[in-house]
Each structure stands twice: as structure tokens, then as C-alpha cells.
Point group: C2
Chain length 247, copies 2
DNA sequence: AATACCATGTACGTTACCGCACATAGTGGA
DNA sequence: TCCACTATGTGCGGTAACGTACATGGTATT
């Protein structure tokens, strides 16, 4: 068997997740005893469609995709969640499951919180509730924009957006990700990604090599991306009031 | 000026909205004094992007589209809301606005409830809160599926889905809707809709004439539609537990 | 009844993406 | 060192939807 990469222990504190970090100390203190750190590996499935979720996850340095897989096997990414958010919103929204699947797209850490603990704290109707609901709205924005993007924008633009969303959720400009996997997320052919990525490399915006992608010119990536990236970013910043003005 | 159609007064009771109907009598009684009935006309804009909402709307027999309009004027429908739901979820989710716009797609009635009244009742953390959150999850499902649909399905299939979603929210099989408007919702060319609708008419599934569409064979429409319609319907039924099993 | 407008039909070249087939080149394990 | 595997590159015909242009035929206004 291939030697697993030693779980790069870089972000292991609850505060590495922005939502947990935003909680008042006393709220966080209540949760701490029940928060469990876990390393999530590439490809790991956190939730299967229509199966009751057993816990929420607060990513610290992993990235998780919400994917819908169709009957014929084709797939499409609905949203992506990293250290800015939480997985399993259906637990407090009341549905307990969704028709989509949650797959780890970039290995890393996350804190899990059991279902009961989530509901208990949510039912205090305090800051955690309000924070979770606001985050859920930002997730809604992301999904809505994904719908728009899928309708109107080219693969080239969508790849730019996807890369930006990914590096925003990591601490560095590199990601471990094959074109095949990106194609799965975007719901396009692998060859389409090869072509789009080739153009970006030729432009000097990224470099890549067998599953390792590095973003060289973030600014240019933003220009080449469609407006969807900025719309979601602005709205997310607004909702979770991270610096109302970022310039 | 063209004589406005006399506001067809067909659904004017709060219980004509499924969410209001699901509330316990005492809860509804609290809301009643502040619920205001209004006739919403075709094309009316309920919310503008990024503008604070002033009330929620519970449709009784109108249909409202959540639309995102891009910088270049192109648009795409994100979700559709009728008597099964409520408009303005951002008011209780905490964001107060969204980047999208809400436009009346089919004229009809709705009850509005002022912002403060919504928050007051929501903050009781009772059945209204739970109902609204579950509805919001069903809205999330719809948006997610719209993203998938935009990625993978043909205009033909999407038109079928769109027609089904529309007549589900009306009491009859007819809708007043030009192909131009449908094209705006789907985010495709008007000619594309003409072609798709032409095929459906040739098959005897619908008939239409200058802005009047009638569905003749609902069953066939479901077969011709993509799986997205059924996924959203099943999930919505589950979440708002309207007959857990519908067969 | 005449007219202006609007909804729909149709045609045609263009483009983005698909499906498929196959070539090339790193990489890890035997 | 060799081999098998995986990731990426490339070419080609097919197709769905686009942009544009224009024709036809209802409907409302005068």
C-alpha cells in the first residue's frame, strides 16, 4: 500500500475554524468537551445522500465538496466548505439529511460535534444559532451562484472560480488535485479541464504537474474568473462580518 | 392602457398557503392581525438585490421567481416559490437581503407579514421557527438541484421541469406565460424555448397560443423531464411532511 | 377596417463542449 | 532497472445551444 502522507498537523485548534473562532469563550467552552478532532482523508465521504447525519464537522484545514451524483453517474458540485464554515447544516435546519453527498476534496483536519450536542446548543437560541443561520445563508448564496455559473459561464471561467475558492480555504497556494477530480467537481470532461488548465499555465497564472497545482498569480485568476466568485465572496464576508470593507 | 385583468380572487385565505395552514391555530391567531393580503401582479419585483427586505410573503396563488441578473443583463432562475413556501427567508436567517431579485412570474395573491412581526414570532423559537427552517432546507434542495440541472440537462428537459414546478403551484393546468419570459427564467434563448415547446406541442403534451400554455398530459411531462423534478418534489414532501409516502 | 405591436416560427453559420480514441510522460513498487 | 499505472496531452467528428436575421400570424388600439 502507498504510504499515507503523514497527516500534516497544521491546523488542530478549534479556533482554526472561523465559525468556532467567532463564538464567545463561554459558548466555545461548552462545546469543547464534545468537539473531537479528526483527520479527514482525500475522497472520504462524510455524508451519503438521504442518510441521517450523525454529526456536524467544522473544518480547520480540509476542504469538503457537496456533490450531487446523478442516476447515470454524472456529478456536479453544489458548494464547497472549508474552514470558513460547517458541514451538516441539515441537522439544525431540521431535515437530518440531504439528497447530496459530502466528499473530502482536500485532506486535512476538522472538529466533529455529535448531533445531540449540536441540537442542544442550537436550542439555546443564542449566538451559535444565529451564527449557524447566517452561515447557512452564505451557503445558499454559494449554491445560487453555482446555478447561475453553470448556466452561463465557460469551463475556463469556472475553473478559475474553483481554484480561487479552493486556495481561499487553504493557507497556501498549492493544492493536491488531479484534473480528473476537478472535472468531477465541475461536472465536465477531464479533457476540458486539461485544456483550460493548459491555457492558465501558458499564461503563467498557475503551474501544475501530476496532481500538484500551484497558483502563481492570484490577481489574474480573479480577472479571468467570472463575477460569481466575487459575488459569493462579498456576500459571505458581509454575512459573517469579516471586515465589512475589505479594501 | 390595457385593461388589467380583474384580480382573480380565488385564494384569499391564509390557509391557502401551505406553511400558514400547517401552523397551530393559536400560532396563526397571533399572526393574523398583522397578515396583510395583497394582489401581486405579473412582473412585480418583491425584492431587489442587496436591498433590505421589509416583509416576508406567503403566496396563496401567485408564483414568484428568485432570479439572478448578471452584469451583462443575462439572467437565471435560482428557485421558484408558490403557495408551498415563503419569500424572504433572509429575514430570519439573519442576512436581511440577498444578491438575487424576486419577481412575480404568475400574478395572484399573497399575505405579507412585516419584518418585525416575523422576527418576533421566529424568536419565540416555536413551531413557526421550525417550519421556516425546514422550508428553507427544501429551498436549498431546489437551488442545489437547479445547479445540477443547469450543468447536465437539455433545454427540453428543463422546460418540462419548469412547467411541472409551475402547475404544481397553481390550481389548474394553464399558465399565462410567454416563451420570452420562460427563456428569461431558464437563462436560454427565446428561440430555444420555441423549439422545445414546439416539440412538446407536437407530442400532444401541451398546447399554447400567444402566452397561454396548457398542460394536457402531466404524466408524459414527468417522463420527459429530468430526474431533478422528482428529487426536489420528494425532498420537499419529506421535509414538510406532506404524506411521507405518496403512493 | 387599418395599423402597430407582440408572440411565435424558421433558417443558418458559429461556438463550446462532448465522446471517443490514442499518445506521451511522470511515478511508485517489484 | 524495469514495469505497471496514473496523469496529462491531443486530435476528430458530433451535437446542443448561441447570435442573428427575418418571416408569419395573432391581438389590441385607433
Amino acid at each position: 500500500m502507498k504510504t499515507a502522507h503523514p497527516p500534516t498537523v497544521s491546523a488542530i485548534r478549534p479556533e482554526d475554524n472561523h465559525l468556532l473562532a467567532a463564538l464567545a469563550p463561554c459558548t466555545l467552552a461548552r462545546l469543547l468537551p464534545r468537539l473531537k478532532f479528526a483527520h479527514l482523508s482525500l475522497g472520504q465521504v462524510l455524508y451519503e445522500p438521504d442518510v441521517e447525519m450523525r454529526q456536524v464537522y467544522f473544518p480547520t484545514d480540509c476542504i469538503v465538496s457537496l456533490l450531487y451524483v446523478m442516476q447515470d453517474g454524472a456529478s456536479a458540485e453544489i458548494a464547497v466548505v472549508g474552514n470558513e464554515g460547517v458541514l451538516g447544516v441539515s441537522l439544525f435546519m431540521g431535515g437530518e439529511s440531504t439528497p447530496s453527498r459530502a466528499v473530502v476534496q482536500s485532506a486535512g483536519g476538522a472538529f466533529s460535534l455529535p448531533r445531540l450536542a449540536v441540537k442542544e446548543e442550537f436550542n439555546r437560541h443564542g449566538e451559535l444559532m444565529h451564527l449557524m443561520l447566517r452561515y447557512t445563508q452564505s451557503l445558499i448564496t454559494q449554491m445560487a451562484q453555482t446555478a447561475v455559473c453553470n448556466r452561463h459561464h465557460t469551463v475556463d471561467q469556472q475553473l478559475c472560480r474553483w481554484l480561487l475558492m479552493s486556495i481561499d480555504r487553504l493557507s497556501c497556494n498549492r493544492l493536491l488535485m488531479t484534473q480528473e477530480l476537478i472535472a468531477n467537481m465541475l461536472g465536465v470532461r477531464r479533457e476540458g479541464v486539461t485544456e483550460a488548465a493548459g491555457k492558465l499555465q501558458k499564461l503563467g497564472v498557475i503551474t501544475y504537474k501530476r496532481g500538484k497545482i500551484e497558483v502563481l498569480d492570484r490577481g489574474r485568476l480573479e480577472v479571468l474568473s467570472c463575477e460569481c466568485y466575487a459575488v459569493v465572496k462579498r456576500e459571505t464576508d458581509r454575512l459573517l462580518n469579516r471586515k465589512p470593507r475589505q479594501h
